[in-house]
Amino acid sequence: MSTALPVLKAEDFTSDQDIRWCPGCGDYSILAQMKKVLPEIGVPPEKTVFISGIGCSSRFPYYINTYGIHSIHGRAPTFATGLKLTRPDLSVWVITGDGDALSIGGNHFIHLLRRNVDLNIILFNNRIYGLTKGQYSPTSVEGQITKSTPLGVVDHPLNPISVAIGAEATFIARSVDSNIKHLAYTLKRAAGHKGTSFVEVYQNCNVFNDGAFAYAQDKATRDDTTIELQHGKPMIYGKDKDKGIRLNGLNLEIVDLSQGKVKEDDLLFHDEQANPALVYMLSRLRRPDFPEPIGVFRAVSDQTLEDAVRGQIDKAIEQKGRGNLQKLFSGGETWKVGA
């Protein structure tokens, strides 16, 4: 048989709606990469569902010509869970932001991850509330001046990757909006993972928190401020590939490779299936003391929620036979009243 399947293109995933993000917003780049990646994944638009909460990023589903729900604040993971439990055949993406996923939706976020529903959740982290015009978010840094913190943020921020590890996520990754090659690669990896794939994307809000991730976006600095995680490879970074990360006791440390005193074999080799304690340590690498890792932190295989749930249903049918309503209703102790 040589019936050629129609080859999908980015346009097949483009809706007829005008995009209403601010000019220069990092969201444009993420949308573009998503539309580039979707045809490569090969799931047709009618089998794909985008579900979002509330916030700038959550307008995303309107701009993609698939099925979609623009839901309510923080709850996108719950709609996605209900949909996936009943329609495991669909490819489901959850689009969320730092406020949506970690503040109002924090509860749903952790429960989605621990249940390992087979879907992809993309968190656009811009460390600010954009749609409500500039209040601080759970990922805003201490001291950050925002509209609701004129004297600076006093809350300790949440680290999305650390939270994901604590919540037993099976796939955890981080990318950067402007690093389009890396972003496309990461989205594809997420799509390929069976289970909940969590991707944090550093996303610039050029209106309310411009430059929050400039260090990771700027080509001049990013090689020194970020480190790309590559499975099975030693952790090396820097413009001249002269720095590395080494495990010393229970701590990670930066080592200088240029002197020849430290060899590559002494470095930490990245392992996507490593002990979560080690992955947690990687999630704690923060500027200015350390380069911030981008790439896939963790990718392990585990049973998905829908497989477990559908499995119980299938097994019950196999063992007891398909339920008979009349038998059920007439079961138990009955008595007859004659005419």
Partner: protein, 634 residues
């Protein structure tokens, strides 16, 4: 009326009576609910009409012997139709002093009082905060008091089985059961089957001990002189058919399964545990082989939203809770209303506000489900009137939800959720289908699929993911009619608000008109809703028998009201609205029909008694004049 005839088994006589109301009460660890359930099932199998009222504390095991830990179960079984568990008791069984003092007020003079005299020692009195033994009070002379050493006799009965003291003590509810069974001529077979099913095949020592305790209780009844006679209650004349006893929450689960069957759907039931709604989840999760998918969500919000997600995918989606959880689901319900997706939201009401009285009944969520959402957001609201009616009402709700593409709220309450009554087992082959269709082709040949293009009932098409060419996005932002695209246009918003309201109004076209029990016009119309049906019906019928000009209109559809309700109301001089709240339906009726309806209101966590309703009806019909002020229940 009663007749006396010598019993065949011994010299004692058997007195035939038309109905009996018994309350069994004891410590929440004493197995009173089990005893009540067994007595109920046995009476149902005897062909009696039955109504039950389990009443238990919110605490799982409040300190033993204290008043807070008293658990009770009331059942009325009769040879005539019964609609309530009974106002006044014929007999009270009290297993300890705390149970006695907290329940004795409901036993009228001359009533039969059976107590476990072994549990009236100083330490028991102290736990019940009593200075003197109530059994030695002069007031006891008002009752036919039978003091039974239940603990001691139970121990003797099971002595040969070598159980521990604790295990032997646990059998004492079966001794009490045996005594009650003898007293009311109940057949022990069903309970013996239960014992052997529950505690092994009849060879386990626990099963044997419970059987021995049960038989010892029966023998005790036959033997002691203080109980001069036993009672006989003939079967009731119900509509011919096959019956079984059904509990409200179980009927709700069965109704959902019937609705799924009729619409060719599988159930997705998402909920978060809450009293008194959880038993629906417990029931449904047993039926995985029917394709039922249950999901215990991380919270109430997740439960309603997961259900909405499933509905978007084309499944029969249901969520449930009680008042506090419904409050949390509010935003989700508003979204489902905007998305115009079918969804069932079941609210098993309990005493409020806030955590309120979790295990007690109330009808105080009506305003919450009617108006507790932001914006102009009406939804259909239906209310079950009895335990078995939960089966019917939830199917009607699913019919509305699918025909109108709308979330529908079903109200139940703790009283009917935990109560039980005979249920005529339906014939599945005679069920009519609930037609549900999912489009496979675009409804707009000139362009993109129009997810909000409507039919004559104003319902939009239920297009589901996986369907080629019908991709569309839905969301909570106001959308343009037809296309479903985001729209902030003022005219469009007005139009969409009107459409959503009209959809709810259209529900009346799909539902039967209001029925009236009694004269079609006259002095007084009693207007009731929800779980008070049994008490209101009984009180109205009693008053009619007394010659009062009174009729009952019991409303099952609260939004929209039945189309003929206003006309019915206009045919009576006075309208009385009894509610277990402070006047919520009354407010709706007054504002809708501009009628000076009188309220009869009570919020004590308890159902109405027939007597208090009867008294009020008599007062209003005999006075024959309009009484502007509403009165309070006693």
């Amino acid at each position: 009326m009663s007749t006396e005839a010598p019993s065949t088994s011994n010299s004692k006589t058997v007195k035939t009576v038309s109905g009996i109301t018994v309350r069994l009460c004891g410590d929440s660890g004493d197995g009173m609910q089990l005893l009540g359930t067994q007595l109920t099932n046995t009476s149902a199998l005897a062909g009696n009409d039955i109504a039950t009222f389990p009443d238990f504390p919110a605490e799982i095991r409040a300190p033993r012997g204290t008043r807070a830990g008293v658990s009770g179960f009331q059942v009325q079984f009769a040879s005539h139709e019964v609609h309530t568990p009974g106002d006044t008791l014929d007999a009270l069984v009290a297993m300890n002093p705390a149970a006695l003092v907290t329940n004795i007020a409901d036993l009228p003079k001359g009533g039969l009082l059976i107590v476990n005299e072994d549990s009236f020692e100083d330490k028991d009195l102290k736990l019940a905060k009593l200075k003197v033994n109530p059994l030695e009070e002069p007031a006891m002379e008002n009752y036919r008091l039978i003091k039974v050493p239940i603990t001691r006799l139970t121990k003797q009965a099971v002595a040969e089985l070598g159980l521990s003291v604790k295990e032997a003590d646990r059998c004492k509810n079966f001794f009490a059961m045996g005594l009650v069974y003898w007293l009311y001529g109940r057949n022990m077979d069903a309970t013996l089957r239960y014992i052997n099913g529950k505690f092994g095949d009849g060879t386990s020592s626990i099963a044997k001990a419970n059987e021995k305790a049960l038989r010892a209780g029966w023998a005790f009844g036959e033997t002691i002189e203080a109980l001069g006679h036993s009672y006989n209650i003939e079967p009731a004349k119900l509509v011919p058919g096959t019956y079984r006893n059904i509990i409200g929450n179980q009927a709700m689960a069965y109704g959902l399964m019937a609705a799924a069957h009729r619409s060719g759907k599988e159930i997705f039931y998402a909920s978060y545990p809450i009293t008194p709604a959880s038993d629906i989840l417990h029931e449904l999760c047993k039926y995985k082989n029917f394709g039922v998918c249950t999901f215990q969500a991380e919270d109430e919000i997740a439960a309603v939203c997961a259900a909405i997600g499933a509905s978007y995918g084309g499944q029969m989606a249901v969520t449930s809770s009680s008042g506090p959880g419904i409050a949390l689901k509010t935003e989700g319900m508003g979204l489902a209303l905007m998305l115009e997706l079918p969804l069932l939201v079941i609210d098993v009401q309990r005493g409020g506000p806030s955590t309120g009285l979790p295990t007690k009944t109330e009808q105080s969520d009506l305003m919450q489900v009617m108006f507790g959402r932001n914006g102009e957001s009406p939804l259909p609201v239906l209310a079950a009137q009895s335990p078995a009616d939960c089966y019917e009402i939830v199917q009607e709700a699913w019919m509305l939800a699918t025909q109108l593409m709308i979330p529908v709220i079903v109200l139940s309450d703790g009283y009917i959720a935990n109560g039980s009554e005979p249920w005529a087992v339906p014939d599945v082959t005679k069920m009519t289908p609930i037609t549900v269709t999912h489009p496979t082709e675009s409804n707009n040949l000139d362009g993109a699929f129009m997810p909000y293009k409507r039919n004559e009932l104003l319902a939009r098409p239920w297009a589901i993911p996986g369907t080629e060419g019908l991709m569309h996005r839905v969301g909570g932002i106001e959308k343009e009619d037809g296309t479903g695209n985001i729209s902030y246009d003022p005219e469009n918003h007005q139009k969409m608000v009107n459409i959503r309201a009209q959809k709810v109004a259209n529900a009346a076209k799909l539902l039967p008109p209001q029925q009236v029990v009694g004269p079609q016009s006259g002095e007084l119309l009693v207007l009731s809703w929800g779980g008070t049906y049994g008490a209101c019906l009984t009180a109205v019928k009693d008053a009619q028998a007394d010659g009062c000009s009174v009729a009952l209109a019991h409303i099952r559809y609260l939004n929209p009201f039945p189309s003929n309700l206003g006309e019915i109301i206009s045919r009576y001089k006075q309208v009385l609205i009894p509610e277990l709240n402070m006047g919520q339906l009354r407010t709706l009726i007054r504002s809708r029909y501009l009628v000076d309806a009188i309220g009869f209101n009570k919020v004590k966590g308890k159902p109405f008694t027939v007597a208090e309703l009867h008294e009020k009806i008599c007062e209003m019909t005999k006075a024959g004049t309009r009484n502007a002020s509403h009165s309070k229940a006693s």
